[in-house]
Structures are given as C-alpha cells and as structure tokens.
C-alpha cells in the first residue's frame, strides 16, 4: 500500500492549486453547486478540465484516472464550484456519445456539452416501468428515415429546462429478452408532439416532469448506437460513474455543518453537542463517510491495476442514500419544534435547511436506482444470488 503521487502527478496537483489560488473567488455554499460565474466557467473550459477524462480528440482533457482524482479532490477541498454546467451531459450523455456515437454526433453534441450551452434530460422511467426499466413500452417505429415515437416518460429530471433528451424507446416488441429491442434516441425537445408537464415534488420544487410523445418524428441520424442496442448504451453510460469523490466531499461538508448546528443548538441551556448520544451519532456518520472515501480508493486501485470492477459502486450508493436520509432526519429530530420551521419563520434554524434536506433527499436517493435496487444489484451481480 502507498498513497504517494508520481512526479508528474505532483506537478499536476500543484498546477491545480496554483489555478485555484489565482482564480477561485466564489466558493459554493450549495453542495453540488454549479457556477454562474461566466469567467470561472470559461477558464476551467480553457484548461480542458471540463470533461477532463474524455479523449482529447473530442475536446476533452485526456486526463489519467489519477489526474482526474487529483483534480476532483483539489476542487472539493477548496469548495470550488463544479467544472462545467451541463449535469447529465457530462455525467452520462457525453460518455455514451463518445462510446457509441457517430462522428457527426460527436461533432454536433460534445462541444455544446463541454461549453454548457444547454441542459440534457434523460427519458428512461415510464409510469409502469421505473425500477424494472428494461420492460419499457414507449414505442419507436422506423418510417423512412425517421423514428416515430409514441408513449410517455415520467420522473424526467430537468425536462422543463432541457433542450435535448436521451431517450429509450422500444423498437421491437417481439424479443426473447426484455433487454433486447430497446433503442436509444437523441431528441430535440422542440420537436412537435412533445409535451412536458412539470410535477411538483414534496419540497415544492418543479424540476422533474411527465413527458408525452405523440407522433414525434426523430431523424434516424439521431439514433445513438444500433437499433436494439439501447440497453447496452444505457448500462455503459451508468457504469461510467467512477469514484465518489464529489459525493464524499459534499457529505463531509454536510457533516461539518451538522456539527456546527449541534454546537449552536441548546437544550436545558447546554449545547446539544455535549450530549454523548448526539456525539456518537455524528461519529457514526463520520465512519460511514470515511468508509465511502476509502472504498472509493480501493475500487480506484482496482481500476488502475486494470482489474474489472463489478457492481462495487453500489456499495457507496447505498451509503450515500442512507446518509442523505439519516443526517437530515437526525438534525430535524434533535432541533425539536424549531427543526420543523421553514424559510420565512422567525424560529427557523439556519433558514430551515435541515427540514428542507429532509424533504429533498429523494432527488439523489430515488433517482438513478432506489436503495432496494442497489441491494438487488449487489446480491445478484456480486454475491451471485438468483434473480427476483
């Protein structure tokens, strides 16, 4: 075991640190903060740190795995804003296009994703098929050089704001396995026949939506991968999520914030943090967060050595889900009545951020696979237990 960096890696780390000294003006106070500072966005783009792990030919930075880790860690330590503004484009749409896209698709979409020109959304879940995604029924029929799409998607995050959608449709209803016959399309959200109806979530946000498709015509050149290859495109995209550095550093910040809240809150005239039960629970959270960090490093080591990763990332996804729910709930509980007060109340604690968190965790806990789906993945793919 060693945690040493090579000479080149140290030089790269120093370059990142210098850049941060020179250019970091505004720290994010929101945990996954995207920067609205045009100057920052332009400079990190010039550095090719947006899409840093992508090949240079498509406009990425061509960073090694270790360089990507260093960049993320340095950014996280200094609480710098995100690199790039196109969330889903950078997370999975871009990597899918790089792997499966035609040259024309790469030229057309990748630069826009890197520049953050617009948002992408992801048309996967349907009213009847959420966790059981591969059973999806939204229909695509090839007519001439266009697919005609009819059906419905739901829980589509960012749909009300997105310019493009990565969409899964069924192009063949007569296959042996449900994973066959699925095709991936890239759809302009302005295409006639698309109707977006935002859904209000329990925290009052309107970020996800139902999306209806009525005879929506998608040119065949916007198909990603081959017809019937949609499931493979999706799986490879989701497997692209590598380490959990960004999540870990966000949770570390949340923990610091929890300690501050517990120090300032009093019960019987004493800081709550003096209560051994409170301290132990915080330490328990700390152990989970540190475990996530070190799990990530172990899995990273496997990748560097070229050993195949199975579904180990589900381990940290489960931790994150538990921590998102439990940390917010813990704060709301120990704050008592004041913990229930929301922004606008005179009695609200820190603008009601903990009660807000306790209502908004489903964004990350349900999206991308519920905790029980992660447990199925671990049980079936890692432990080899029979499928449901």
């Amino acid at each position: 075991m060693d945690f040493d960096l090579t000479k080149d890696e140290i030089a790269f780390r120093d370059e990142v640190r210098q850049f941060l000294d020179d250019n970091l003006k505004q720290k994010t106070d929101n945990e996954f903060g995207v920067s609205f500072d045009a100057d920052w966005n332009k400079k990190v783009r010039e550095k090719r740190w947006v899409g840093f792990g992508w090949p240079k030919e498509v406009g990425g930075g061509g960073g090694t795995i270790m360089e990507q880790v260093i960049l993320k860690e340095e950014m996280a330590t200094r609480k710098a804003p995100a690199l790039g503004t196109c969330f889903m484009g950078l997370a999975w749409v871009g990597p899918s296009i790089i792997e499966y896209g035609t040259e024309e698709q790469k030229k057309r979409f990748i630069p826009d994703i890197l520049d953050g020109k617009y948002q992408w959304c992801t048309g996967y879940s349907e009213p009847n098929y959420g966790s059981d995604l591969a059973s999806l029924q939204c229909k695509g029929v090839l007519e001439g050089d266009e697919y005609v799409v009819n059906g419905q998607k739901i829980w589509t995050s960012l749909a009300p704001f997105a310019a493009w959608m990565i969409l899964l449709v069924r192009t063949d209803f007569d296959t042996q396995s449900k994973h066959e016959g699925i095709t991936c399309l890239l759809v302009d959200m302005k295409t006639p026949g698309i109707e977006v109806r935002p859904i209000e979530n329990m925290a009052g946000g309107r970020f996800f939506a139902e999306v209806f498709f009525t005879d929506v015509r998608v040119p065949v050149e916007n198909r990603l991968g081959k017809e019937g290859q949609g499931w493979a495109v999706t799986v490879s995209a989701l497997a692209n999520e590598r380490s959990s550095i960004a999540e870990v550093s966000a949770l570390q910040r949340r923990l610091e914030s929890l300690i501050t809240t517990a120090r300032q809150a009093t019960r019987h005239g004493k800081p709550l943090l003096e209560d051994p039960g409170i301290r132990r629970q915080i330490a328990r959270f700390e152990a989970r967060i540190e475990a996530m960090r070190l799990n990530g490093m172990r899995y990273l080591t496997k990748q560097i050595k070229g050993e195949p990763l199975s579904s180990e990332t589900s381990v940290n996804k489960l931790h994150r889900a538990n921590l998102e729910v439990d940390m917010a709930e813990f704060a709301v509980e120990f704050l008592g009545n004041a913990g229930l007060h929301m922004r606008g109340s005179d009695d609200a604690v820190e603008g009601g951020k903990w009660i807000f968190n306790s209502l908004s965790w489903p964004d990350v806990v349900i999206g991308g696979g519920t905790p029980n789906i992660q447990r199925n993945i671990i049980a079936e793919r890692i432990l080899g237990l029979p499928k449901d």
Binding site: A283, T301, I378, A379, L385
Partner: protein, 375 residues
C-alpha cells in the same frame, strides 16, 4: 497510489489460506477447541518454521521484519477459518518488545518469540475493562532495587498457553506514569486462571501476582516510560482484532450466501427472495466498508502514526457495531439448522460476540472519534 496489496502479500494470503484449509478445517477447529490448551502445538511449530510467529520481529532478532499490513493478511485468513491460535497476543508481545525494549531485552527475548519457541501475550486490562491508560491501576511499587506486583490483570488473552507476559502496571500517580514489565510464567508468585467464555476458539483469564519481585532488567525500556507504547498496543490490538473480524464475518457471510443459494422453500432457492437477499447485500456493504477503514488504519501504524488512533477507532467502532448483528442475522437466515451445535454458523456467531469488546467496543471508539475530531 496503490490502496491494495503487493504481490508478496497476495502470495502470503494464498499460503495462509491453504495452510488453514488443509491443516485446520472446521472439524479440526472443533477438536482443538475441546482441548485444555485451545491451540495446536503442532500448528504453532509449523507457523514458526514458516516465519509467521516472528512476522513483526525485526530481522536482526530472527524475525521476518514485516508490518501490520502483512499481519492483517494472515489475520483475515485466520478469522475466516476461526483458526484457534495465540497469534494476536503473541504478535502484540513481540511488537511491544521491539518498540520499547532495550538492546539486551530484545536479544534475550525476541529470537525465542520469533521462532515460536516461546509464546508471548499482553496483560493490559483490569476489572474496569478500560482500554486506555486510566484503566491501568495495578501498582508496581519500588521496593529496594526491584518493583513489586501484587494483584491481578483481567481478560488476558491466551493466558493459559503464554510463557511470557507483557504486563502494564502503574508506577506513578500521573496518568502517563505507567510501565510495561516482562513477566515469566515460571516465576513463583505468578499464577494463571483460565476462565470460561463464550468462544471456545479463544482463551482468556486472570493473571495473578502475589508479592512478585520484578528486577529492573525486566522493565521494558524505562520505568514510567511506557505510555506511548501502551497506547499503540491498544490501537494495534484493535487493528488485529478488526482484521480478524473481516475474515470471520466474510466466512459467516459466505456460509449464509451458500445456504441461500441451495436451500429450497416455496419452490425457489431462498436467496431469490428479497427478504433474504437484501440483508445479505447489507452485510456485504458493511464488511466492505469496515474493511477499507481497517486497511487504512493498518497502513497508518507505520506510515502515518499520527492518524492511527482516529483511523482505528473508525474501523473498530464500525466493526463492533455491525459484526455481532451480522452473526445474529446469518444464524436467523439459516432457520433451525443454524441453532444446532453441529452446524458451523453458531461458531461464527460466538466469535462475533467475542470480538465486539476486544480493545474497545463501538461506544468507546465512537466517543474517541468525537474527542479526536474535537466535537
């Protein structure tokens, strides 16, 4: 960066695993645990020949000169097989002498320990069961040119088979005025008493002194000067036990996963049902996680000592909190067969309880995480 094992360590793991599978399958574990000694002298001698009894002893004194990351590889495999052996106690005794002993003391004791000719253990705890300096209240009084010990140490692991005890005693009123004394089992005025405990693959008991005279040559290092080493022994002891907990919980988990794949109820293997597969997935998450925490702590012993206390507290707290629950869950997933003496899962359940308080339970270590984190 490499948060994994070297090729040599991978080979060592294979070697240990084969040794245990061939020489000490579960039928043999059961036999050994019925004996008075609770260990196999034959196995111990072979471990001596393989260099494992001297794993942590410097090469200059006949050992292999390896460190706790290497030791954890052995311990994981020993835990997996519930291998009955004084390896942890012995390694801690070697570690104490190597860290604190004078040149003469090292020359005198380490080669015999390294070869396995003598078995060592540490006697740190007392009735209060407190794994920190405040828990050391047994006084060693200066009488003439020697120290005198009168009283007893509790919960001494492998008390029945050890030839040599590294005894923590109080030599002054300040918290850190503590010393480590080398006590030979053969000395008059020393007696041991093995106590009945839950896990028959592990032995422990009382070490008693009646006006024992300890010459100054048997004070490890300097009088009053053992505080740092004792703190490191507590931490390294926790590293060792937690490493064994990785193996033993993986062993219990593998046994249960296997059962879930083969046991048919309601026309299906029970592992098809989420009520069975989800707890097994949760256990996997917990084992993977305290494993990562422990690996880092083991690395800290030599490479980043200032981080050791915090890192091992995170690991041991996590393990002590989750492993006994896993023992219970694994047994329940087996149904009635798990309750029988004949089936092995019950041995793992007992081990999970044994490991929980050793070198500090979850509350102890979470409290320490909070103190060290200044909250």
């Amino acid at each position: 960066m490499n948060f994994g094992f070297t090729e040599e360590q991978v080979l060592l793991r294979d070697q240990v695993r084969k040794f245990i599978e061939q020489k000490c399958p579960m039928s043999e574990v059961r036999k050994i645990s019925q004996t008075k000694e609770g260990m196999s002298v034959e196995h111990w001698q072979e471990m001596g020949q393989l260099g494992w009894t001297g794993l942590l002893v410097p090469e200059d004194f006949g050992g292999a000169g390896l460190n706790w990351v290497d030791a954890l590889v052995l311990l994981e495999e020993m835990g997996r097989g519930l291998f009955p052996s004084p390896f942890i106690s012995h390694s801690l005794a070697c570690f104490a002498i190597a860290e604190l002993g004078t040149e003469d003391q090292k020359q005198l004791w380490l080669p015999k320990l390294a070869s396995g000719e003598k078995i060592g253990t540490v006697a740190l705890l007392e009735e209060t069961d407190l794994p920190q300096l405040e828990g050391i209240q047994l006084e060693a009084k200066m009488v003439g040119d020697h120290l005198q010990l009168n009283g007893s140490k509790h919960f001494v692991s492998d008390v029945n088979t050890a030839d040599l005890f590294i005894v923590a005693a109080r030599t002054g009123p300040q918290t850190d005025q503590v010393s480590l004394l080398i006590v030979d089992k053969k000395a008059e005025a020393v007696s041991t008493k093995t106590q009945a405990t839950v896990d028959k693959t592990k032995r422990e008991g009382l070490l008693q002194f009646e006006q024992l005279k300890v010459p100054s040559t048997q004070i490890l290092g300097n009088k009053d000067g053992a505080a740092d080493t004792i703190n490191r022994l507590f931490d390294c002891g926790a590293v060792a036990v937690t490493a064994e907990m990785i193996g033993s919980s993986e062993g219990a988990h593998a046994l249960t996963v296997d059962y879930a794949k083969n046991r048919i109820q309601f026309d299906n293997p029970i592992g098809k049902y989420q009520g069975v597969k989800h707890p097994l997935a949760n256990m996997y998450v917990d084992i993977e996680s305290f494993k990562s925490l422990l690996y880092y702590a083991a690395w800290c012993v030599n490479e980043s000592p200032q981080e050791l206390s915090k890192s091992i507290s995170l690991a041991k707290a996590y393990a002590s909190e989750t492993v006994p629950k896993m023992g219970i869950d694994c047994l329940q997933l087996h149904g009635a067969i798990g309750y029988t003496a004949e089936y092995d899962i019950q041995l793992y359940l007992k081990r999970s309880k044994w490991a929980r308080p050793k070198f500090g339970d979850a509350n102890f270590h979470y409290d320490r995480v909070a103190s060290l984190g200044e909250y």
